[in-house]
Amino acid sequence: MDTKTINQFSTARVLQLTKRYVELKKRMLLIGFAVIISFIVALSVWVLFYVPDNFSSHRLIFSYGLLIFYYAGFALSSTMFDELNKESLASQFYTLPVKTSEKLLSAILVSYVGYTLVGLIVLYVFSIIIGMNSADIFTTQRLSDLMIYTILQAIFIFGAVYFKANNFLSTLVSVFVFLLASTLMILGLKSIFPGLEDSFSLGVLSFISGDILNLGSGILFTLLISAFFIWFTYLRLKNRQIA
């Protein structure tokens, strides 16, 4: 194979790298799924016992299940590049003969695509077990939640490369501070310019509350913001050094 061929994007390397990520994180993934399932089961028992109304209890269990699933996903994304943070392991990751884009794509395949698919299947099966109506699962609200989840996943992947320690907590705190600052800024602007109230209805606050009126623009917004963070993750990963 000549230099040009080796330096071209390789699907085979992406798949092998994905396998490597899964293998090295197998223990963590198994423990994570076991904890999530145990937590949801414990929650179900508790809710079914204390909330007599079937409809409310099912929705409550599913909502909490989703919330746990989301945060576990963010935690997983935060650890995708933890080899870089351990000096003793970093050299093997830095010098692995793969492209930066392949490293990033493989990480996304594991922490977003793979995890989300498996997680949603588990949640779906679980919802059937507890007798939930599928119409209550696949709602517009869920889709809007999934879009926010997608953006946050991209932010947590960025945090995995950007921060050099405590990636999950550091990213969580950064997101929280950003949201708080945005909220205060919007509220401040609204109080100064009351006429702006309507134009902000599609802004950050309404987006976070899941109030996406237009599905198409919501998806476009999700893709653009996610792509923005993925691009910065790529640049950061490409330029990151061992020291």
């Binding site: 230099t3 490597r20 010098t95 692995l96 793969v98």
Partner: protein
């Protein structure tokens, strides 16, 4: 094969650790990168391996800058750092997971070296002692068949028999198509393998000569304490002085590499002067 051009490197806003370094490494040779602690050896290796980026200048392997970390450039080199850890998998699994990235990986060679080192690849890597893990990683590095093999303090953490095994394995390698760069401050451990000596001091390459040339220009002699014979550098020993003296005849004998290293560090100008004269 490896071309380091006017390389300068500094950590953040500090003083340069490496400054204006120029170096060419060629296939078929085993280079010894020697230097005192803090001389910049590991920093240089990390620059060569693309893990640190030069502030100016470049490190080029087979026409590709290593800072780009392209698959081809990374396929040309393998580094065994002084301190490293291995994932929590068995040795066999580690090989399976990484072999795909190194198309020329030689499985038989890996088996042979592990056999010589007496390392069990079926065990989980974290269960092995540091020395065992190091031997496993050295075996893997050699088996990748990369054109450039970099070892940073390879004998640290190895017991005495393992140091001998390491020397034997490196010496037996077919180095025609490979270049080996060994960085160490424990010069006695690797002295017998080295074919070309590089000495780094305060971020600058102060000495860069092949052993044949050193043999032509310098000799190590034991001289009497009260002798008036001139010498470049000497160390008192029982019954005399072990001295590095100028020589104009070919004398390929056993070299006291530690004495040579000390002489280069202490008398840099005088030693280099020997190589400037005809």
């Amino acid at each position: 094969m490896i071309s380091i051009n006017d390389l300068t490197f500094a950590y953040k806003k500090g003083e340069p650790v490496l400054s204006g370094l120029n170096l060419e490494l060629r296939k078929g040779k085993i280079y010894g990168l020697l230097g005192l602690n803090g001389a910049g050896k590991t920093t240089l290796l990390n620059n060569i391996a693309g893990m640190l980026f030069p502030a100016s200048g470049s490190c080029v392997v087979d026409g590709e800058e290593t800072r780009d970390r392209t698959p081809d450039a990374m396929n040309s080199l393998f580094i065994v750092p002084e301190q490293f850890d291995l994932p929590k998998v068995t040795g066999q699994k580690y090989i399976e997971l990484h072999i795909v990235f190194y198309p020329k990986f030689n499985n038989q060679q890996m088996e042979d070296i592990l056999l010589e080192f007496e390392v069990d690849k079926t065990k989980k890597l974290p269960e092995l002692s540091f020395g065992q893990r190091k031997k496993f990683f050295i075996a893997f590095a050699i088996a990748t068949q990369t054109k450039l093999l970099i070892f940073d303090e390879p004998t640290n953490g190895l017991d005495i028999p393992s140091k001998s095994q390491f020397r034997r394995i490196i010496s037996s390698l077919d180095t025609d198509s490979r270049c080996i760069l060994i960085s160490t401050h424990q010069v006695r451990d690797v002295g017998s393998m080295i074919e070309h000596i590089l000495v780094l001091k305060d971020g600058s390459l102060i000495f860069n000569q092949p052993l044949e040339e050193i043999s032509n220009r310098l000799t190590i002699q034991k001289i009497d304490m009260d002798s008036s014979d001139p010498y470049i550098y000497g160390e008192e020993t029982l019954g005399g002085i072990n001295a590095v003296v100028a020589s104009n005849k070919e004398d390929i004998g056993e070299y006291d590499i530690e004495l040579l290293f000390n002489s280069i560090i202490q008398r840099t100008e005088d030693i280099n002067q020997q190589f400037e004269e005809n």
